[in-house]
């Protein structure tokens, strides 16, 4: 545990003593803020119409009209941001040959991976918590339901965690950070839209493709529903990514 903490602390420090964390977090927040502003503006317009025409009033729901699309947008921004967050984790160590220090220290490969994973999770958490400020405004001026918003955030965090595991895996494959980022982005996008292929498949394959697709699991959480199958899906995705990373690093040393 102490070893994991040591690695995690060092990685967090690296993120925050270099511009990486600040740039990623700032751009992320600017984009999320813009989406939020547009959605609220649109919701506002809709409310004015509803004041004139009671038929609209039925559909007026801030959770569904602001938060649901907002979570959708955040997830897309994460899809683009997380490869940039994780690309350096192992690729940079290999390029600078600092991995030799880590692997000749009394600390296991598993501990190194989990330490780095935890550090990225921390940055993700900071990003998501800062967007939470936006929802405070909606509570001040409206009355959204709290639980669906919390579920949505939890879902975003779990999904981000799965993205990070994939990113770490690709970072362990190469010593080139751009290559790691591009492969991560490609893989994530492919998993995102895997359910498109389900349309042309049949029987069991259809279910499998649907199950594997990020999009299928994500739909629930934008509506604020967090199912155990979704939690299991994201957790197993993370586990599998980290497990593959472990295998890659171990096998490379034995070659």
């Amino acid at each position: 545990m102490k070893n994991i903490w040591a690695i995690c602390k060092k990685e967090v420090k690296t993120y925050f003593t270099s511009p990486i964390a600040y740039v990623l977090i700032t751009v992320f927040l600017v984009l999320v803020g813009f989406f939020f502003y547009s959605l609220v503006w649109w919701f506002n317009n809709y409310s004015f119409q509803a004041a004139r025409d009671p038929a609209y009033l039925q559909q007026l729901n801030i959770n569904q009209m602001v938060f649901s699309p907002l979570f959708h947008n955040i997830s897309i921004i994460l899809l683009l941001t997380i490869p940039l967050l994780t690309m350096r984790l192992f690729a940079e160590e290999k390029k600078r040959q600092t991995d030799e220090l880590l692997y000749t220290s009394p600390i296991s490969v598993g501990q190194i991976i989990i330490g780095k994973y935890a550090a990225s999770l921390f940055v993700l958490l900071v990003m998501l918590l800062l967007t939470g400020i936006l929802s405070i405004f909606t509570f001040a001026y409206g009355n959204p339901e709290f639980v669906p918003i919390l579920n949505g955030y939890l879902g975003l965090f779990l999904m981000g965690a799965a993205f990070i595991a994939v990113g770490i895996f690709f970072s362990s494959l190469t010593e080139n950070q751009v290559v790691a980022a591009m492969l991560t982005f490609g893989a994530l996008l492919l998993f995102w839209i895997l359910n498109w292929a389900a349309g042309s498949a049949s029987g069991m394959w259809q279910d499998v493709l649907n199950y594997l697709s990020f999009f299928q699991h994500f739909d629930d959480l934008t509506r604020g529903i967090l199912d155990t199958t979704d939690i299991v899906y994201y957790a197993s995705f993370s586990f599998f990514g980290l497990f593959l990373t472990h295998s890659v690093i171990q096998s490379r040393r034995w070659r």
Binding site: R96, Q97, E100, T104
Partner: protein, 256 residues
Amino acid sequence: MIEVENLLKKYGELVAIKGLSFNVEKGKIWGLLGPNAAGKTTTMRILTGYLPATDGRASVAGFDVFKEANALKKTIGYLPETLPLYPEMTVYSFLDFVAEIKQTPPSRRREAVEKVIETSGLKEVRGRLIKNISRGFKQRVGIAQSLINDPQVLILDEPTIGLDPAQIIEIRKLIKSLKGERTILLSTHILAEMTQTCDGAVIINEGNLMASGSLAELTLELRKYLRKTTSSPSSGAKERTSGMSSPGSSWTRNWD
């Protein structure tokens, strides 16, 4: 302290080390001498538990390199050929991080870091970012990180490479001052380096063991060899002195 027996390492088809055997006694500085691509770095990487060997046995400080890797890593210090430094960290925070992953207890960490800063002469740069300090200081930080767990065995891969003559002399002095109870194995391709800092040497070429022993033994053996191959003793002596003072590889090849 370091025992190597029939060590073999293959990278796919390429055989990097071909059955290396040697022993290094406790409290001595030994050089691992050989031209480039002789297998020095590979040998050291195996001894530090970074790379597994294809075959053979090795133990360092009484721990089997393959079976007791974790215990081994706690008791040795290692300076890789490429300095494993994080440029964005300060000298102090880097050494503190290394102390942490080498599992120095938290209560003694500060003391351990202060001690290596003192012995490695890093006082004036302790608060500076590693990317902003000179090459000579970087080398010192590299040595300092290898000393942080007060290791019984120190393995230094080309500790003076890329330094100017004045810095080389300083680093040599530093290495000599570290001796005491410690066993040190350092690799080099410069003969002069070995004769000035080491008590003994292992000479390898293309993965084969050429000779090993204390400096006195090696000199004696060399004399015998030269007496056998050259008819006039005066020319033999001349060849010996010129060989001893010129750096490396040509001299090593005489052992074929």
